[in-house]
Symmetry: C2
Subunit: 344 residues, 2 copies
DNA sequence: CCGATTGACTAAAGCGCTTTATTTGTTTGT
DNA sequence: ACAAACAAATAAAGCGCTTTAGTCAATCGG
């Protein structure tokens, strides 16, 4: 089956190729009558623009690139990520943009992917996730002048537009809340330590702990899996000065931690309060339901996508868009700290 | 910054454009010495093939398309899906293929997406998920002769190559196991009723129930969310002849169901046995740990991707690839049915 | 009534690459 | 020693589209 080309359309409509092109692209230079005739001809023979040809003559690809510097096998673990993607897609779908995802083995490979996307005109823009300290992707993308939106910030994003949420404030609020419930030993089971947002949360946690004069505020880093979350919890709860509250960096680790507490005959929330960063269905259906730092992740992704489209459209865009900070949603895993659990 | 083209490479290497093209594509017609010189020149100026130009002159795009006929907002709910994607990516990443995902509003829009991908040479092949009865995508893709791999089967896939698992056998096994534990009233809380694999599981469940002469074997359909899973469970457990075992179609619903049981003062597994279709970290870290029908979803995706590459390579491929059926992994949510719970 | 303007349309170049046909130069067979 | 065969390299066409420069006729101002 032969794909119809624009010259087939032009022939059928009885006009020149250029007239057909103008008509099909809503450009001036053709009468309305002709425009309709061309449009009809295109519909009749089922013409679809060959995007390669359009790109080659200087057009756009209607593709946004997303390189993923994580092992493919762990993509499924973090619910945050998929929700973000679905939010991005929800905005991109309407104007017909597609999202091109490419898993890359490491940071260097990711740089190559950007260079190749840029060199080969493969994408109109890229979305950068998992920002790290001194991230080499930032200067590269600045140099290539490839339209970019960074998920994260507000620091470490160079001159690139980015969308960020005030994670620090959320961390501070949460520690404050737990402290107000009488907790004096609070731990944080965090995600990957080299991600910038992990660091920011770490710092805020630390600062808040100091200002609330907590007795202890340990931070343990994990790879976001339930397995490591459980291990970290087990270790923390085995200490004679075990924490009375733990803040987890995702919900799967929070669930894992609650299982460990159960295993060690500690009751949640009587003996241990649990808070999960990022709300999810899981937090809502668990019993006890998990207190969570809720945010609209899909909305976050949607905002990223909209900024991306703005950047591509080329108008001057806001360099930094702030989305609402995570909101503490108290449920049944947080309670007053038991008296008598203070350190010996 | 100007992107270098193949003629820049050719000039720098002191050869013709065609020689450069042959050299860079590993084609015969150039000496090894020249080939190396061209390669070096390309590296030095950071040349990347313009994929649009290559596509236009009949090459491949190195992109696999995946259209998603679901609302973008529910993408994040089903862990199965993301794991499948990560499995696909793990195979596609090595030969440099990217995965283009496009969320579409409905089935008709998906057909348009295929037509447009085909007409515009945008993808080398497509992967079809969420197979339905009399799926209109199958005949369209057959007609377009767009390389396709269907996730699912073994029926309803027309002449297209597909990768399937024997879900029916798994359903039968599970019912048999529960019956052997003395359960006589088993329910199934299923996913979307128009998906073909849901139907197949439904039928197998029904058949097995009949052959085990169960007293009841209700099936309730949901949208895979914890919310609907909880509702369905609540309704089932409120019946005077409530089931003593429930088979859930995903783990989030299983967790939701366990919470409902707890809420109704029914203990798992003493009063209610629970089995989740598809294992997950969640099943492992929950307490009690959830008995699950485990399968290697990422491996499934990887197999799909490999078949896709084979189809594109154009050799004659197996029309139907079977991956191992889900394996029942008994954990702590399944136990003997209590006596005295038989129907009045 | 004539040159200037405008609107509708077309011819043709060019985007960067692959590939076919062709040329050039070197071996080989006899 | 000469044609045949081969290897190495090149010229040029063409993929489907956009866009610039241009043609042609109708309209306008003075």
């Amino acid at each position: 089956m032969k794909r119809p080309t624009i010259s087939d359309v032009a022939r059928r409509a009885g006009v020149s190729i250029s007239a057909a092109s103008f008509a099909l692209n809503g450009r001036p230079g053709v009468s309305d009558r002709t425009r309709q005739r061309v449009q009809r001809a295109a519909d009749e023979i089922g013409w679809h623009r060959n995007s390669a040809a359009r790109v080659l003559s200087g057009g756009t690809t209607n593709v946004i690139g997303l390189a993923l510097p994580r092992p493919a096998t762990t993509l499924g673990v973090e619910p945050f990520f998929m929700e973000l993607v679905s939010g991005i897609e929800s905005v991109l779908a309407a104007p017909g943009y597609a999202l091109m995802m490419q898993v890359v083995a490491n940071a260097d490979a990711e740089l190559d992917v950007y260079r190749s996307w840029w060199g080969g005109h493969r994408v109109d823009g890229v979305i950068v996730v998992d920002l790290r300290a001194d991230d080499p992707r930032i200067p590269l993308l600045e140099e290539l002048a490839l339209p970019t939106v960074v998920v994260g910030g507000p620091t470490g994003t160079g001159t690139l537009p980015h969308v960020w949420a005030d994670d620090a404030a959320a961390a501070t609020d949460t520690v404050g809340y737990l402290a107000a419930l009488g907790h004096r030993r609070i731990a944080r089971i965090a995600g990957l330590p080299d991600l910038l947002h992990t660091r920011r949360r770490d710092e805020a946690f630390h600062t808040a702990a100091t200002s609330c004069t907590l007795d202890s505020a340990d931070v343990v880093h994990t790879d976001y899996t339930g397995l490591e979350g459980a291990q970290a919890t087990r270790r923390l709860l085995s200490s004679p000065t075990r924490p009375t509250a733990i803040l987890y960096d995702n919900s799967i680790m929070a669930v894992a931690g609650m299982s460990v507490a159960d295993e060690m005959r500690l009751s949640v929330p009587a003996d241990l309060s649990v808070v999960a960063w990022d709300d999810s269905q899981l937090c809502q259906v668990m019993r006890p339901a998990i207190t969570a730092l809720a945010r609209d992740v899909a909305g976050y992704g949607a905002r990223v996508a909209r900024l991306m489209l703005d950047v591509i459209a080329g108008g001057d865009v806001e360099g930094a868009v702030e989305v609402p900070a995570p909101r503490l949603v108290p449920r049944s895993t947080t309670a007053f700290a038991q008296r008598g659990l203070s350190p010996r």
